[in-house]
């Protein structure tokens, strides 16, 4: 009873709670606004936060592996700035996009090398590159704005898949979520991530090439952040160096709200996906009900703290109950069968 079933129950609990909360939010939204359940509104609520959604997926893997990447919002800005600078210099847009993705990979590589080869803490390294990449973005584009992007590009940003209320960038999110979800939950790579997040030395001694895997995670994070920057430019149909400021906090909020442990070793992609929808719907409901958007920031903060407090309290209550039961079972420890060993 308390064996595998209990373990599964514990893992599933937060995701279930999140799903229930999401359903309640949707019910409230449907009740207060007739347009809430329309396809157009769905497309709007997704599009408004698609960049953070995309970045939350690699961030989840990085945090599960026991690291963090604070520099993603600046990589969004750097990608936007370089895209704008190249395009205004006459470089064909597809070439510029490829170049920007390469820059994203290089930025991630720098983070990864400093963390895994030089051995610096990722919190400080990416705090440094958070400032560095934003600074480079400002150096590249200064305070200029670049617009006049071709319509196929901006159409990708805010257009939807023909006949469906799904913004084009959302398809990228779906593909990324499925691929990374399978990698994390169904392959040996995923098991390596959990192992190094739980205990890095143990992972290394059991033959996992921790440094190499983490390096690749940081590169992935950089490339995806650059992609998010490209999407943001397409959606806004303008490129500026200051875009993306403050997004890192939202990205990390989604990941943690999704049940990923900030210390690594625990978390799921479905949880992170649920957390994204919860935040997106919450923002949308608050907007539709004309509640001041300032409340949203407070609600997100509270949700973030509560998302950690509730599982912790639940675990404490559960261990207290277990202890009470264990005390009752204790009088006959020597004759106790395997079931009682499990119970204690």
């Amino acid at each position: 009873m308390t064996g595998v079933g209990g373990l599964l129950g514990r893992l599933a609990r937060w995701e279930v709670l999140l799903a229930v909360f999401l359903v309640v939010l949707i019910a409230i939204g449907a009740a207060v606004s007739p347009v809430f359940l329309s396809g157009r509104n769905f497309a709007n609520l997704i599009a408004a936060v698609i960049e953070v959604a995309i970045m939350s997926l690699p961030m989840a893997l990085i945090i599960i592996a026991g690291e963090i990447d604070l520099s993603v919002e600046s990589m969004v800005g750097l990608a936007a700035a370089i895209l704008g600078a190249l395009y205004s210099a006459g470089v064909p847009l597809p070439v510029a996009i490829v170049a920007v993705m390469i820059v994203g990979g290089l930025g991630g590589l720098l983070n990864g090398v400093l963390v895994t080869r030089v051995g610096l803490p990722s919190l400080v390294v990416t705090l440094g590159t958070l400032a560095l990449y934003r600074g480079l973005a400002l150096v590249v584009l200064e305070s200029r704005g670049v617009s006049n992007f071709p319509s196929w590009f901006t159409g990708f940003g805010f257009g939807t898949v023909p006949g469906l209320p799904i913004p084009w960038p959302f398809t990228i999110y779906l593909v990324l979520a499925v691929v990374l979800g399978i990698v994390l939950h169904r392959t040996w790579i995923g098991r390596q991530l959990y192992a190094m997040g739980k205990n890095q030395s143990a992972a290394r001694f059991s033959g996992i090439r921790v440094a190499r895997v983490k390096l690749r995670l940081f590169v992935l994070s950089g490339v995806v952040a650059a992609l998010a920057g490209v999407i943001l430019v397409a959606r806004m149909s303008s490129a500026r160096a200051d875009v993306g400021s403050g997004l890192t906090l939202v990205v990390i909020t989604i990941v943690l709200l999704g049940g990923v442990d900030i210390f690594g070793g625990r978390g799921t992609i479905p949880g992170v996906v649920l957390a994204f929808f919860t935040l997106a719907v919450m923002g949308n409901v608050l907007r539709l009900t004309n509640v001041s958007s300032d409340i949203q920031s407070i609600a997100v903060g509270l949700l973030l703290i509560v998302s950690v407090v509730i599982p912790t309290l639940a675990r404490r209550v559960k261990s207290a109950i277990d202890r009470a039961q264990g005390n009752r079972n204790r009088p006959t420890p020597t004759v106790g069968g395997p079931s009682e060993v499990v119970a204690s």
């Binding site: 705090l127 590159t129 560095l132 600074g135 900030i262 920031s297 973030l304 407090v309 912790t312 309290l313």
Partner: protein
């Protein structure tokens, strides 16, 4: 064993490494040396960096960041972090400005109210971290959102301008005692006071103990939860003081005031030699880190390098400082393992 030998034999143990190690070990001293050298170099091209007006401007701004950095340093020494400090500063600055512009409280009481508000916000952080065992990075990420949200809620898109404030209030930023700005005196007093507390009191020692070895500290009977709570409360208190100073210095305050300051504060702490994993570092170092970073920003403007480079340079300084720390730690471990080798 082969591993240990390999580590001892690395060629990195050259004179440069030893110099870097020595520099990192005396972080406060080396920061002062680098700072003086930098100011000297800049003065060759832009002598106005040494003008009394410029020195006053820089030191007053540095004092605000330094006060916040001292609180942050104590939090980081206990192996925690407070990301909400900029929201605390912003909320306090707006609350005090709002109270003053409506004439609800006289200036001294309004400032006291601001500092008290900061303390309450810090205590809330402390309760969330110490009582509910929420990791500090998550807790203060949450309160960063919450405090800023409250700021937006009460500000409602309005701003308080300097003209709406009593004249005596914003004048404090330019006030001097014996030629030294009051802000600088406040920052120095706070730095010296907390340096003394950390060095000489039981509480001070327990701050380092909790940060360097939580389990060991528990065995010694140190109540880690209590120490964590007190440290977050102090950080909030100092954030409140820094917020009041921010309001005085800039005069015009809106809901987004002090956005992005957390990065500067943590950069000052890291540059000042506080180990991000806790257990070591000094508040004097953090204050000097704030002074150093503010002077870099000032020097950039004076040598007419594009202001856009400032942010990039900040990032580089953080990376260099933390790399220096890593060299030091490795050198220390090498010397320890070298002595242990048969």
């Amino acid at each position: 064993m082969a591993r240990a030998t390999a580590v001892v034999a690395t060629p990195a143990d050259g004179p440069l490494t030893r110099l870097l190690g020595a520099a990192a070990r005396q972080r406060e001293l080396s920061l002062v040396v680098i700072l003086v050298a930098m100011i000297g170099l800049v003065a060759l091209q832009a002598p106005q960096i040494l003008s009394s007006d410029n020195l006053t401007d820089v030191s007053v701004l540095a004092a605000v960041i330094a006060v916040a950095a001292i609180g942050e340093a104590m939090v980081v020494i206990t192996r925690n972090v407070d990301l909400s400090v900029e929201a605390t500063m912003g909320l306090v600055a707006f609350a005090v400005a709002g109270v003053l512009s409506n004439g609800i409280l006289p200036i001294p009481l309004a400032m006291l109210f601001g500092v008290g508000l900061g303390l309450v916000l810090g205590m809330a952080n402390g309760v969330i971290v110490a009582v509910f065992h929420v990791p500090s990075i998550v807790a203060t990420l949450g309160t960063l959102s919450i405090y800023r949200g409250i700021d937006f809620l009460i500000a409602g898109g309005k701003q308080v301008t300097a003209t709406q404030l009593p004249a005596g209030y914003t004048a404090i930023a330019r006030a001097t005692v014996l030629g030294i700005p009051v802000f600088v005196l406040v920052a120095v007093a706070i730095a010296v006071g907390f340096a003394a507390i950390l060095r000489m009191t039981t509480f001070g020692r327990s701050v380092y103990a909790v940060g360097s070895n939580p389990e060991g500290a528990a065995i010694l009977g140190i109540r880690a939860g209590m120490v964590t709570f007190v440290v977050f409360s102090i950080c909030g208190l100092l954030g409140g003081i820094a917020g009041v100073m921010w309001g005085i210095l800039f005069g015009t305050i809106n809901a987004t005031s002090a956005t992005g300051v957390t990065l500067q504060v943590i950069a000052a702490v890291v540059v000042g030699g506080v180990n991000i994993f806790g257990g070591s570092g000094t508040v004097i170092g953090a204050a000097l880190g704030a002074l150093f970073l503010t002077f870099i920003g000032n020097a950039l403007i004076l040598v007419r390098l594009s202001q856009f480079w400032l942010q990039a340079l900040y990032g580089l300084v953080i990376l260099i400082a933390v790399a220096l720390d890593a060299v030091l730690v490795r050198q220390f471990q090498r010397s320890v393992s070298g002595r242990r080798a048969p």
